[in-house]
């Protein structure tokens, strides 16, 4: 049974990576814990580092810290080596980077508006997850999900731990959320 699930998710991931359009919709709303395996790669390491630091700043309600990590992320995206990615995936990766940079920029420019930073963080999280799914990761990540964010539309984020530390509500609802997916390295 477990094998089937892994195989199935593998199939889904490879289908998604090759399809030109967006493929994260099927995981976004589901509340079942599932897992995907990605390639081992360091190409997105710095991005993951600064994304996680940004996430922690939002958990701490530290909007100035979030802004400074937003700026770092923006620079990381600009430096991302697109040509190191498989040719047939470069277009999608380029689109992810373009979108993600914009969100990172907004986060860096709104050091006094944490609600606005969180709005962009939500979309950024999806971009970073899709990036890691394609380009690979150097560590296991968990996609966590808070169903209450944004008037109960929900919002996901990535963490290296299964333990919930909510970046959308901070102290107001620190432990609200569930594990949605495990992204492990092959």
């Amino acid at each position: 049974m477990k094998k089937t699930i892994i195989l199935l998710s593998l199939a889904l991931v490879s289908w998604g990576a090759f399809a030109q359009h967006d493929h994260s919709m099927m995981t976004n709303k589901s509340k079942v814990e599932a897992s995907v395996k990605v390639e081992h790669s360091k190409s997105a390491s710095v991005i993951i580092d600064n994304y996680l630091a940004l996430k922690d700043a939002l958990v701490q309600e530290d909007s100035r810290g979030a802004a400074s990590f937003g700026k770092k992320l923006f620079d990381d995206f600009a430096k991302f080596n697109l040509s190191a990615q498989a040719k047939q995936q470069q277009k999608e990766v380029a689109e992810i980077i373009e979108d993600a940079s914009e969100h990172a920029k907004h986060i860096s420019e709104n050091s006094k508006d944490i609600a606005h930073q969180r709005e962009h963080f939500e979309i950024l999280s999806k971009d970073v997850k899709d990036l890691v799914t394609i380009s690979g990761s150097d560590r296991t990540l968990y996609q966590l999900f808070c169903p209450m964010y944004n008037n109960n539309k929900g919002g996901a984020w990535l963490s290296t731990s299964k333990e919930i530390r909510n970046p959308y509500f901070g102290n107001r609802m620190l432990k609200c959320g569930t594990v949605q997916q495990e992204i492990s390295v092959r």
Partner: protein, 150 residues
């Protein structure tokens, strides 16, 4: 008294001088195929809302008020419109990647929901651009549906 007269005169000269440097106009005669309304065949009711409340600063076609020809007001507007278009340009929306379209729709929905857009500084002068609760609802409902369909 004399000083006041001289300063006043000088100010007038400067203001008149400024008028010789008109701001660029944001106006195009054709509506491109990448236009939001064209791309998604937006129903007229929603298109109307977008045109009155959003397109002036977020498209390649601005419906200018008369005072935009007076400098430095015109320059201020030009700068403002350039910034607005950089964030979101309805005239080019169809050329955005699927990901960017979706991401822009998400931001549009939350900006309108939170009452951040259209800007209060804009609606205080352009009363017609204010969103009534009803048109706000119509707009959000349409944008949500569109986002789901992408």
């Amino acid at each position: 008294m004399k000083l006041l007269k001289i300063t006043g005169l000088l100010l007038l000269v400067v203001l008149v001088g400024l008028q010789f440097f008109p701001a660029g106009t944001n106006h195009s005669t054709t509506i491109p195929a990448t236009d939001f309304v064209k791309t998604f065949e937006t129903p007229e009711q929603v298109a109307q809302i977008l045109r009155t409340s959003c397109y002036n600063c977020h498209s390649n076609n601005t419906n200018y008020p008369w005072y935009s020809r007076v400098q430095p007001v015109g320059w201020f507007l030009e700068n403002h419109i350039n910034k607005g278009k950089e964030e979101l340009n309805f005239s080019e929306f169809g050329s955005y990647s699927d990901r960017k379209q979706k991401s822009k729709l998400t931001s549009m929905i939350s900006q309108v929901e939170d009452g951040e857009m259209p800007l209060t500084s804009y609606t205080s002068i352009h009363r017609e651009a204010r969103l009534s609760a009803e048109s706000k609802g119509t707009l959000i409902e349409y944008l949500e549906k569109l986002k789901e369909s992408l």
